[in-house]
């Protein structure tokens, strides 16, 4: 009898132990997700209400209808991620290796714009890049640009806005990875005759990979789902999937379509993440975290 109780207790302990964590996952992840899933399968309208009719057809329908915006979101999101990486790696490198006692000041400078709201920052770009604004207007006045030239309302403006917002999120993880590199490794490489370029290529770069990996993940996921940049800096044909979801949800009260789009976006991102992790290593992610 008592042996059975002991055995029961032993089996029960892991479940009891995971209750807090499990409850967290259930309340903040599984329940909302299941709710979105069930809403996406409903039909109806805002006046008569929506009922669950297991309308799986909505998935192929919305993919068909909004494939352009899906593809565009991934294109803009990944392009901005790549640009942010190319721009911020050297910056993070310089701060980590040559920042000296100004490191924290320099990091603060990178973060400083983020004390202002995202929307305000993007709106400021709208002001700076206006056709007759302080930049383009001046260049046009001195004849460096044709009078019809404009940046706003183009895909380039949207990608630039996304990139701008991504800069610190790319810089910080890379900086942390670079900062953690044991300097003696580099010295050892130098002692063994590696040139400065080889030291970078064969020691620093591989050791900073976890930071790069994390930076790409952070930036790509947020940027692919973004809608503010396209709404403020974009033109008639730069709509991203986030804009469609917002319109369908807020303006049209079309909850099933909005939910289906959100789930498809999430699934696509998960799939992309899985492939990316497979290719570039879970090991490095775990090492990093």
């Amino acid at each position: 009898m008592s042996a059975r109780v002991a055995r029961l207790r032993r089996t029960a302990i892991p479940y009891v132990l995971e209750l807090p964590g499990g409850a967290w996952v259930v309340f903040f992840f599984v329940v909302p997700l299941a709710a979105i899933l069930s809403v996406s399968l409903m039909t109806g309208n805002s006046i008569d209400g929506y009922t669950l009719t297991w309308n799986f057809h909505i998935y192929p329908d919305v993919i068909d209808q909004y494939s352009t915006q899906f593809v565009r979101s991934f294109y803009y999101g990944l392009a901005s991620t790549a640009i942010a990486l190319v721009v911020m790696y050297p910056v993070a490198y310089w701060i980590a290796f040559h920042g000296g006692r100004h490191k924290s000041t320099l990091l603060l400078v990178i973060l400083l714009p983020f004390f202002v709201s995202f929307v305000i920052r993007i709106l400021t770009w709208q002001f700076i890049l206006a056709d007759q604004g302080i930049v383009l207007g001046t260049l046009k006045d001195i004849g460096l640009l044709p009078s019809g030239f404009h940046v706003l309302s183009t895909p380039a403006a949207v990608i630039a806005g996304l990139t701008y917002d991504a800069l610190p999120f790319m810089a910080l993880p890379i900086y942390v990875a670079l900062e953690n590199i044991d300097r003696t490794h580099i010295e050892a490489a130098a002692d063994l005759g590696a040139s400065r370029f080889e030291q970078f290529l064969r020691v620093v770069l591989p050791l900073s990979a976890p930071g790069v990996y994390a930076g790409i993940l952070l930036v790509a996921i947020t940027n692919i789902g973004d809608y503010v940049s396209a709404a403020i800096l974009g033109g008639p044909s730069t709509t991203m999937i986030g804009n469609i979801i917002q319109t369908q949800y807020v303006q049209n009260a079309n909850y099933p379509t909005a939910s289906a789009l959100a789930l498809i976006l999430m699934a696509a991102l998960l799939l992309g993440m899985w492939v990316y992790t497979r290719a570039f290593g879970t090991r490095t992610l775990q090492e990093y975290v």
Partner: protein, 409 residues
């Protein structure tokens, strides 16, 4: 002393594999998730959540009393403002003892409606006694859901006495049963003559390839669809789904030829001021205000095919706590003297014609009093059209599914 072997084992070996841990968690989560999915197998609609049909509003009004408080939600920059306070509201408080909690919280109809509708659906008050909504799909729903308290016109005699033709019997609310006009306005064309190089007279100028990439259109699908129909010579108020499709085709062509710079919300006025656009769909009051804030060169025109007349309307939402105070303010507002104070600052279409001499003489501001955008001529008025009044949700969904793909491509 010998250590307990079990204790040692516990320190050195993991007793539950990570994988088992995760699997147990996933199972528990899946069960809970499935349960919640089943329980949430519907979202309630708004039908039958309003006042019951045949409710005796007359005796309801007879029971209401003044409380000395008014909670009012309006749009930003939509009342006279001086040094951070509102003179007309202060005068109102002085004369009636009613404290006004004025909240300029309405940024656009759709988002405001999406905020208040879940509350009204639960048959609760939204915390405002007076709200301002434009005629359109949101107002249609407010009326259809019986989410508005019919106005007691015996408490607003100044409306009957002073309201002009603009404010009386609008198509969407004949007899002003639920609403009275706060301000009205015209959707026409705003342009910068220095850039266009010529005067603009027609809706078709929005399709002129000479302005390629410099034409601003509105992202509001009602405004966009309506101007498309004006260009086809169709009266939007009398249009059919077949007309909507023709208009959408015309608008898509305009977009695909690169003529449209962008589909704008309220930010269209900044785009015109900044030179991003040369010609744009525009609201009359915005251009008027721009003229007096450093952009005197901008012009507004009611195109020869017609302009759209819209109304921003005061209404009392169901479950409002201070309906008597709300109507007292509306009555106060409709006095020519008070309306003049506000109109001189707001500059949209004035619902009280008798305010014109007050602005011209009393306030000594002939630029507002003589403006055809504030007090339009009879000839201008005759060219104004009303919006299509949606017959129901299917009607509205069809409109949306035709015009949204033009805007969000």
């Amino acid at each position: 002393m010998e250590a307990d072997p079990a204790f040692l084992r516990g320190l050195t070996q993991s007793r539950f594999s990570r994988r088992r841990f995760v699997r147990a968690g996933a199972t528990a989560a899946a069960v809970a998730g499935f349960g919640s999915a089943l329980s949430a197998c519907g979202i309630a609609g708004t039908r039958d959540t309003g006042a019951p049909a045949g409710f005796d509003w007359a005796s309801w009004w007879a029971r209401q009393q003044k409380h000395g408080v008014l909670d009012w939600a309006n749009w930003p920059l939509y009342i006279d403002t001086s040094h951070g306070s509102h003179p007309s509201l202060e005068l109102f408080t002085k004369q009636t003892g009613i404290q006004v909690n004025y909240k300029p919280v309405i940024q656009d109809n759709a988002s405001f409606f999406s905020q208040i509708s879940p509350v009204l659906q639960e048959k609760q008050g939204i915390g405002y006694d007076l709200i301002v909504i434009t005629d359109g799909w949101e107002l249609t729903q407010m009326i259809a859901n019986s989410w508005l308290i019919p106005l007691d016109h015996s408490r607003i005699p100044n409306f009957a006495r002073y309201a002009g033709p603009i404010a009386r019997h609008p198509v969407f609310d004949p007899k002003n049963r639920y609403t009275v006009t706060w301000q009205a306005g015209i959707t026409g064309i705003g342009y910068d003559p220095r850039m266009t190089g010529r005067e603009i007279t027609s809706v078709k100028d929005l399709w002129d390839p000479a302005f390629k990439g410099k034409v601003g259109m509105m992202s509001d699908n009602t405004e966009l669809g309506s101007v498309g129909m004006l260009a086809l010579g169709i009266d939007p108020a009398k249009s059919t789904p077949a007309d909507w499709k023709r208009a959408a085709t015309l608008l898509t062509k305009q977009r695909d030829e690169g003529i449209v710079r962008q589909y704008y919300d309220q930010s269209y006025i900044k785009a015109l001021e900044d030179g991003d656009t040369w010609i744009t769909q525009a609201w009359s009051g915005d251009i008027f205000q721009a003229n007096y804030s450093g952009f005197g060169h901008l012009k507004f025109v009611i195109p020869k095919e017609g302009g759209m007349l819209w109304h921003d309307n005061c209404m009392i939402p169901l479950h409002a706590q201070n309906p008597v105070d709300a109507l007292e303010w509306v009555d106060f507002y409709y006095q020519p003297k008070i309306e003049a104070m506000i109109e001189d600052w707001v500059n949209y279409l004035c619902p009280v014609p008798a305010a014109q001499p007050k602005i011209a003489n009393g306030l000594d501001d002939p630029s507002v009093a003589n403006s055809p955008l504030v007090f339009p001529s009879a000839a201008d008025m005759s060219r104004l059209r009303g919006y299509y009044d949606f017959k129901g949700i299917d009607d509205h969904d069809e409109w949306t599914s035709i015009f949204d793909p033009v805007i969000q491509s």
